[in-house]
């Protein structure tokens, strides 16, 4: 890994950032979300009226703000990886903490959204649209929590000096996972909140 990074021969492509094991997981997760998205799209095609009606009841603003929050936290994570590649463990830690904090903003907004739906008595069994809306967003929500746990552990390890300019696979691993969570939401938001 480091050998490759230090000899970027022209045209030679690199290995995946981070540990390969996380990538197996990432590809599997993308597969699950992909199937879930398509299930949404094709079920919608059979119940266009229903989906269009109830989509209007979603809080589009909180969805949009959450997109911005996730994009921003992904940017923080990019900066954290850049920092540790320079060997700046302190900067890396700080960027990661910022990323986790943005993640918690996402969680907070999302919880408010769930609470509002819960107060209206909306559950997975209310109708097909809400089944998909709640399933997709809750499944993604759990991924955000998981990502925050991962980034927190990485931040703690960075703080304790476990990473340096040569060896920082752990940071890249956590970063790759977090970007995946971001990538999925970038599709989820327009699909469920906007497209009709």
């Amino acid at each position: 890994m480091e050998q490759i990074a230090s000899h970027p021969a022209a045209g030679q492509k690199k290995a995946l950032p981070g540990d390969f094991a996380i990538w197996i997981f990432i590809y599997a997760e993308l597969l699950v979300f992909g199937i879930f998205f398509l299930a949404y799209a094709y079920t919608r095609a059979q119940h266009v009226e229903l989906f269009n009606t109830y989509q209007q009841h979603l809080n589009r603003e909180s969805g949009a703000i959450n997109t911005l929050v996730l994009i921003t936290s992904s940017y923080f994570v990019v900066m954290a990886v850049a920092a540790i590649r320079r060997g700046a463990a302190g900067h890396c830690t700080r960027w990661l903490i910022l990323a986790v904090l943005s993640g918690s903003v996402f969680v907070w907004i999302k919880l408010a959204e769930f609470a509002a739906k819960h107060a209206e008595g909306i559950t997975l069994s209310t109708n097909t649209f809400y089944m998909f809306y709640l399933s997709l967003t809750f499944f993604h929500f759990m991924h955000v929590l998981m990502g925050m746990v991962i980034l927190s552990v990485v931040a703690l390890k960075a703080y304790r000096g476990a990473y340096n300019a040569q060896e920082h696979t752990g940071v890249e691993t956590g970063a790759s996972y977090w970007h995946m969570v971001d990538l999925v939401w970038i599709i989820l938001f327009p699909l469920v909140y906007v497209l009709h």
Binding site: F20, A21, M142
Partner: protein, 144 residues
Amino acid sequence: MSEVFTKSMARNIYYGGSVFFILLFLALTFDTSSEVPKRDNHEAITEQVALGKKVWEENDCIGCHTLLGEGAYFAPELGNVYKRFGNSTDAIVGFIKSRPVEGIPGRRSMPQFNLSDEELQAVAEFLKYTSEIDTSNWPPNIQG
């Protein structure tokens, strides 16, 4: 060129992934437990139905029949037998009662269980109760 692929990361994914999906499963189970009462026909559960379930279990009916599609595939589905028998518990009682002790030569036959009248009524009521559970329209037709 080869990827970094460590055992410790594989282990983390195994443990992390397991915990993640166990939690998700528990969350869905929690939701299910609050939804099931809307579908499970629990209003129909009486002392008699409870006795019926006991009779059902203590004669191992599931060893030949299916109930809501689960069990053995040797004899007909009974989740909807109440409806198949013309919404009649008497028909169910009559059928169970009339099984020949020595069977039917060359053919499958239900054993004669020598149930009391109370037990017969109870098991029929149990099958009436199961036929009114909301199973999302399963089985596809009355034949089960």
